[in-house]
């Protein structure tokens, strides 16, 4: 269950080492147990220098991957999880949990409480999930609400103290490092017996509850007979409960209007104390039927102090909010493009913004554009080979808009124009970016009456909703496009 060591490494391509160890922590008591448990197969945790080199090599983050290197590039050297074996000093250090996120490599070595040869299955090693949780926790701490590099370095400098609280001996006590930071501030408060470990102290002040629902809609539209379009809504409900008392009980309900789309694949925060079986079983992997549970979705919980993600869900709405059509025809040296977009009548026609980004990959800079738009305006970014169609706050009454034009390109120069491994040949897409406030596509909402608070004082309850696009692609209907299995019409 314990970790032998933890590292944070910033990935710096182009520098001699390609990275710098920003933070490292070793756990010698765990290392001692590793020596006993692993026996003959024990490989000690290396010093930072050799580890950096081995890890970057294995993650293919060194700049020297121009040539084929069998130990790394062989077809049988397959990694299907973020868990690696690193060659250090001729021996293999395994398992090393590691992943790259925002230019930072998070890594740790979980203790395996048995011999390593033969390797035990990953699923049987408790330290693996603990290691992931620790690394995710560090990542959240570093990046949630972080605005700039200075703040990042301040947070990095706090890590040694925080890990002394959250993981003093290599066994993780709390992955929420913000909680450890807060508990320093609450140290003088007397704690009753039933104070949860994930709650650093007790709130004092005006009671208030805020609930915000953010739905992201993604879509893949192909405009083809033999490939089905796909779309999906992913919701996240974030809460902040400022309530007095050590264990206030709260029940939050999410409701749907009569024609709303059922919520599925619901994952809840661990502070939710019980869960209706209908919530647990409503899942997108089963075939949909009319009997799907459509709420209200009740979540009884004891809230933590900080803002938390009450739940995540997905939903399959009957139609995508914007139906698009995109066609690219190559005519000698220029491309002829046609775009049609149609907002579905059921969708709130009031955007914070709405744009269509039309990139052209693996080509030269744009030298000339001739176009006609029925609505909105077009911006041309010549060097980036990108067109942005700014649609604005509203679709016109007809709900349909179109763009047509021809684009001419100059000679390709590899440094400036974007490379893409998907958009080869005629394969091309446009991507929609939009945001609608005070609206959800599923219709999901939480109102004042849906919140029950069993604590002193009547809290002020505020609720927010918004819909944003995410990965909303419309592919050129005239060329092959990457499909998922689900979109193949069988």
């Amino acid at each position: 269950m314990a970790q032998r060591a933890v590292w944070l490494i910033s990935h710096e391509p182009g520098t001699p080492l390609c990275g710098t160890v920003r933070f490292s922590r070793r756990y010698p008591t765990v290392e001692k147990r590793a020596r006993v448990f692993n026996g003959e197969s024990y490989v000690p945790v290396p010093e930072d220098g050799p580890l950096l080199k081995a890890l970057l090599f294995e993650l293919r983050l060194l700049d020297d991957d121009k040539d084929f290197a069998e130990s790394r590039d062989s077809c049988s050297h397959i990694n299907k999880t973020s868990i690696y074996g690193l060659l250090v000093g001729g021996k293999e250090l395994w398992p090393v949990v590691a992943f790259l996120k925002n230019g930072m490599i998070y890594a740790c070595v979980p203790l395996v409480e048995q011999t390593l040869s033969p390797r035990p299955p990953l699923i049987s090693i408790s330290g693996i999930s603990q290691g992931f949780e620790l690394l995710f926790g560090i990542q959240d701490f570093l990046y949630l609400g972080q605005k700039n590099d200075t703040e990042l370095y301040t947070k990095l400098s706090q890590l040694p103290d925080l890990l002394l609280q959250a993981c003093p001996f290599g066994t993780l006590l709390d992955a929420n490092l913000q909680n450890s930071l807060d508990s320093n501030n609450f140290a003088s408060v007397t704690h009753p017996q039933k104070q949860p470990a994930w709650k650093a102290g007790i709130y004092k002040g005006k009671p208030q509850v805020s609930i915000s629902i953010t739905e992201k809609v993604k879509s893949m539209q192909y405009g083809k007979q033999d490939v089905a379009d796909t779309w999906q809504v992913v919701g996240a409900v974030t809460c902040k409960c400022d309530l007095e008392g050590s264990m206030p009980n709260v029940t939050i309900s999410l409701s749907l209007p009569t024609n709303g789309s059922p919520l599925q694949d619901i994952l809840v925060h661990p502070c939710v104390t019980s869960l209706d079986s209908a919530i647990l079983t409503s899942s997108s992997i089963d075939a949909m039927d009319d009997s799907a549970f459509s709420g209200p979705y009740k979540f009884p919980l004891t809230p933590p102090l900080e803002s938390f993600n009450l739940c995540y869900y997905t939903s399959q709405v009957p139609v995508p909010p914007i139906l698009g059509f995109y066609q690219v025809k190559e005519e000698e040296i220029q491309l002829k493009i046609t775009v049609n977009l149609k907002l579905h009548e059921s969708v709130k026609n009031s955007f914070e913004f709405c744009e269509a980004h039309i990139p052209f990959y693996n080509r030269g800079p744009i030298t000339h554009v001739e176009y006609k738009v029925s609505f909105g305006q077009l911006e041309v970014f010549r060097e980036k080979s990108l067109l942005i169609w700014i649609i604005g706050q509203k679709f016109p009454k007809s709900m349909e808009i179109s763009l047509s034009g021809t684009v001419t390109f100059g000679a390709k120069s590899h440094e400036k124009q974007p490379f893409d491994q998907i958009c080869i040949g005629g394969t091309a897409y446009l991507k929609l970016h939009f945001r609608i406030l005070d609206y959800t596509l599923t219709g999901c909402y939480a109102d004042q009456h849906s919140v029950q608070v069993f604590a002193s004082g009547k809290p002020k309850i505020s609720t927010y909703r918004k819909l944003i696009s995410s990965d909303y692609y419309i592919w050129n209907s005239k060329a092959p496009a990457p499909v998922t299995y689900g979109s193949l019409v069988l």
Partner: protein, 877 residues
């Protein structure tokens, strides 16, 4: 050493952290541990510095105090420091407790004979129990954090020495009901409980009322080490491996608690589980792993105790919690999870493995968990990844790969897709099977298309070959999959021959199901498309892998055509590699002709020798013997012929090996004499080298080709006379000599190495004019001076050197060329620059701050070189 300043410590700590091993062998290494302990007590150090010193001791006790006595002394010193802290709030108490614990546990000093252990344990237990320790042990505000820390310290000590707290179970249970931090106490109790159960079961003893409160050490009484010594035989895994436990190694079944004890135990476990929601998710997971394995196999302990927790846990997305549920599933199987529960758990895992709200590493781990799922009734062999029975292809739809996935996700999902294809093949559900297989084919085609991109990153190629390998490994028995795969790969080679190393690697790793047809297809690709330049290099590498006795004539005519383009040594070697592969495959007639042609035609003598040797072998050895003689390894006894034994190492001896050179070349002092410039080469070797041949190649053909230099034998440490390398410049210009070495090692291998290029400087080309008779010197120089114009050119330079430095410069660098000298102020210098240029310098009337240099040459092209040379000289003096 006195106390170091804060900056000094910060620097010292930083140096140590950069490389502890290097620091410890350095001059300061020995004192670090001692200085650290003494400065912790120094009043001159700030609390912040002390915290940083303590964190160092938490991470590197083994380096600071390398043996048990040192660790014991360090722990004692840390405890003394702790006791001596003034009773006001301090940030040092927690880290001091942690550091003392770490020093004892990591240093192997923990035990009944250790004085520090006898002090630390009661202190920790007292703190954990919330007892007033008197003597102002910290202010009240620190009481609670210290209580939690003490519990953590005890837990770590119990982990390192199982059974240590066996005697305190009752006390700990009692504390659980009182006011106290719930998480540290729960975790401590569950670990101590589990370890006690395991040790008792091993000793076939009962629990002897250990769980009952009051049956615990009282203050001041000596620590009970009995159980820890029983458990000392070996460390207890906190979560034993699943398979080992399945074999009953956990062995708790032998423990037969009395009904009374069983009730107590159940109550303790239930109490821990009931309050578990107050723990953080990571701690809850630890508790479940521990209790799951504590209760497993124990009579009278039904796993239903865990049931109330499950729904709550299944609803979350926490990796640790779902993993702990899987551990319970593995531990209890059907006793805790009915078939419906199992199906629900599988669904939750399936959706977690693709839920858009979770990060990629979590998706991948869940996918791994799905394929290694501990089923109630597994069908296949354990330990192999498989699709669980209750998870049909319908449920897996969302988990299938697409080109848009990250490489790791794509491979993991591709594996699932392959397993589903296998399953469908077995079930012979034709319709479903086809759609999955078609999808697989399209996906592979997409991967190949990306790998064929010109200038695309290597990662795309790697992914394509990994995917192909994975498919072959899972679906080796399905020709419907392998045939299009073979064609696709051959097409990929046609589009991108530079991927040859990947193809060779793939052929090395796949079985004959794909290997055989792919070899044929690739051979056809190669021989039907003769290439020149870069592609030829890859074709030859590919052909060396795939050539055999089939399609001989096409292969041989390809090679014949290729030979004309094999101009450099590397290509010739690659060509000979193919010949060698053909020899081994038993190709006869046409090959002999080819080898004869090569033996005459190849430019490189080494290549010619090889071709001749192969020809002789082909003419004189029968097929099997030839195969053995040229085989890559003779370890496997295939033919019991004495000839085979004789030929051990023969193949290696025939080949020229590429090797890093054990040879260092440098240019010795200049010899300005003779008709042509001569470089003096100093050779050093790191190991004996025989028959060394050094080959030189002049870049840009500035000089006439330089002949090879032969040295029969060189030994390290034995002085060698310098090698003389005459140069015949075509223009008086500096150049670089590309150097290669061909030599034989003491083991008889012939090696080839590239050495770093040798620079020939401008001054290396200087030669003096024949000395005119004394008295005629001035006239001789003036004659030369005048003869330069009008064809040549003249220039003036200022050399910022006083007379003395000028004298030093001339005597050091230009002595052999001086015609007339009036030291230290005036010199006339005449230099011959082969092939037929001259350079004349007049350094006259040196001032205190410099000397004007007049120069003439009959070759204007050397002017910039002269300028650079003189500036370099004056800067160097």
């Amino acid at each position: 050493m006195g106390p170091l300043s804060r900056e000094n410590w910060a620097q010292r700590v930083a140096t140590f952290r950069a490389s502890p091993s290097a620091f410890m062998v350095g001059p300061e290494g020995e004192d670090l541990g001692r200085d650290l302990l003494s400065d912790l007590r120094s009043e001159k150090q700030s609390e912040q510095t002390k915290v940083s010193l303590l964190s160092l001791s938490l991470e590197y006790p083994a380096q600071l105090w390398p043996d048990a006595p040192a660790a014991e002394a360090a722990a004692t010193s840390l405890l003394d420091t702790l006791v001596l802290l003034p009773p006001r709030p301090s940030a040092l108490r927690r880290p001091l407790l942690l550091a003392a614990t770490t020093a004892l546990a990591a240093g192997g000093a923990l035990g009944p004979t250790s004085g520090a252990s006898r002090r630390l344990l009661p202190l920790l237990l007292g703190l954990a129990a919330g007892r007033d320790l008197g003597r102002g042990f910290g202010p009240a505000s620190e009481q609670r954090p210290l209580q939690a820390t003490a519990c953590e310290c005890l837990r770590e000590l119990e982990s390192c020495k199982p059974g240590l707290l066996g005697g305190c179970l009752g006390l700990l249970r009692g504390l659980m009901g009182q006011e106290g931090p719930i998480q540290p106490l729960s975790l401590l109790l569950s670990l101590a409980l589990r370890n006690t159960l395991v040790i008792k079961a091993k000793a076939r003893a009962g629990l002897q009322g250990l769980l009952v409160a009051g049956n615990s050490p009282t203050e001041g009484s000596p620590w009970n080490w009995t159980l820890a010594e029983e458990g000392d035989a070996h460390l207890q895994p906190q979560a034993p491996s699943w398979s080992a436990a399945e074999e009953g190694e956990c062995g708790l079944a032998v423990l037969e608690p009395s009904p009374e004890e069983a009730r107590e135990l159940r109550a303790a476990v239930a109490q821990l589980l009931d309050t578990s929601y107050l723990l953080t998710p990571a701690a809850q997971a630890q508790l479940l792993w521990l209790l799951g394995w504590a209760v497993r196999g124990l009579r009278g302990q039904p796993p239903v105790l865990f049931k109330p927790q499950l729904v709550r846990l299944l609803g979350t997305a926490q990796l640790t919690l779902l993993h702990a549920v899987l551990a319970l599933k593995a531990a209890f199987g059907e006793a805790l999870f009915t078939a419906q529960d199992e199906a629900l758990l599988l669904r939750r895992l399936t959706l977690a493995a693709q839920h858009p709200a979770l990060p990629l590493p979590a998706h991948l781990f869940y996918l791994h968990c799905l394929l290694s799922f501990p089923e109630n009734w597994p069908l296949g062999p354990t330990g192999e990844e498989a699709v669980p029975l209750l998870l049909g292809s319908q449920l897996c739809r969302g988990l299938l790969p697409s080109l848009l996935h990250d490489p790791m996700a794509l491979l993991a999902r591709l594996h699932l897709l392959c397993l589903l294809c296998v399953e469908d093949e077995e079930k012979e559900e034709k319709g479903q099977d086809q759609s999955l297989r078609c999808y697989l084919e399209e996906l592979l085609a997409g991967l190949r298309q990306r790998a064929a991109l010109n200038g695309g990153p290597r990662a795309l190629a790697i992914l394509c070959f990994q995917a192909s390998y994975l498919v072959v490994r899972c679906l080796a028995g399905q020709p419907m999959v392998l045939t299009p795969l073979t064609h696709g790969l051959a097409q990929l080679y046609r589009a991108q021959p530079a991927l040859a190393p990947h193809f060779v690697d793939l052929l090395d790793r796949v079985g004959p199901e794909l290997g055989e047809p792919l070899r044929v297809a690739l051979r056809q690709e190669v021989v039907s498309r003769p290439g020149k330049d870069e592609a030829l290099r890859w074709h030859l590498q590919m052909l060396a892998k795939v050539a055999n006795e089939d399609a001989q004539s096409a292969t041989l005519s390809f090679l014949q055509a290729a030979a004309a383009h094999c101009l450099d040594w590397g290509l010739q070697q690659a060509l000979l590699q193919v010949c060698r592969a053909l020899l081994r495959a038993g190709v006869g007639g046409g090959l002999a002709d080819l080898l004869q042609v090569l033996a005459r035609q190849l430019e490189d003598p080494d290549g010619r020798d090889h071709a001749r040797l192969y020809y002789i072998l082909l003419a004189h050895l029968s097929g099997p013997k030839l195969g053995m003689a040229l085989g890559p390894s003779l370890a496997a006894p295939a033919l019991a012929s004495s000839l085979v034994a004789e030929n051990q190492g023969f193949a290696a001896a025939l080949m020229v090996q590429e090797a890093p050179a054990p040879i260092r070349l440098s240019i010795g002092p200049r010899r300005a004499e003779g008709p042509v410039p001569v470089l003096q080469l100093q050779v050093e070797v790191l190991e004996p080298v025989y028959s060394l041949e050094l080959r030189f190649h002049v870049e840009r053909q500035l000089y006439a080709p330089v002949g090879a230099v032969h040295v029969p034998c060189l030994c390290p440490g034995r002085p060698t006379s310098p090698l003389l390398l005459p140069l015949q410049p075509r223009r008086p210009a500096p150049a670089r000599l590309d150097v290669r070495a061909l030599y034989t090692t003491p083991t008889g291998l012939t090696c080839h190495a590239h050495l770093p290029p040798l620079p020939v400087n401008f001054a290396d080309l200087f030669l003096p004019f024949p000395q005119p008779p004394e008295g005629a010197k001035v006239g001789f120089f003036e004659e030369l001076w005048d003869s330069c114009l009008p064809e040549g050119t003249e220039s003036q330079l200022w050399c910022p050197l006083g007379p003395h430095r000028l004298e030093a410069l001339v005597s050091c660098h230009l002595e052999p060329f001086v015609v007339v000298a009036q030291a230290p102020t005036s010199y006339c210098i005449a230099i011959r620059l082969p092939p037929d240029s001259r350079l004349l310098l007049r350094l006259e009337a040196a001032h205190a701050d410099g000397v004007p240099v007049a120069l003439r040459t009959d070759d204007w092209a050397v002017l910039p070189l002269v300028g650079a040379y003189l500036r370099g000289l004056s800067a160097a003096v």
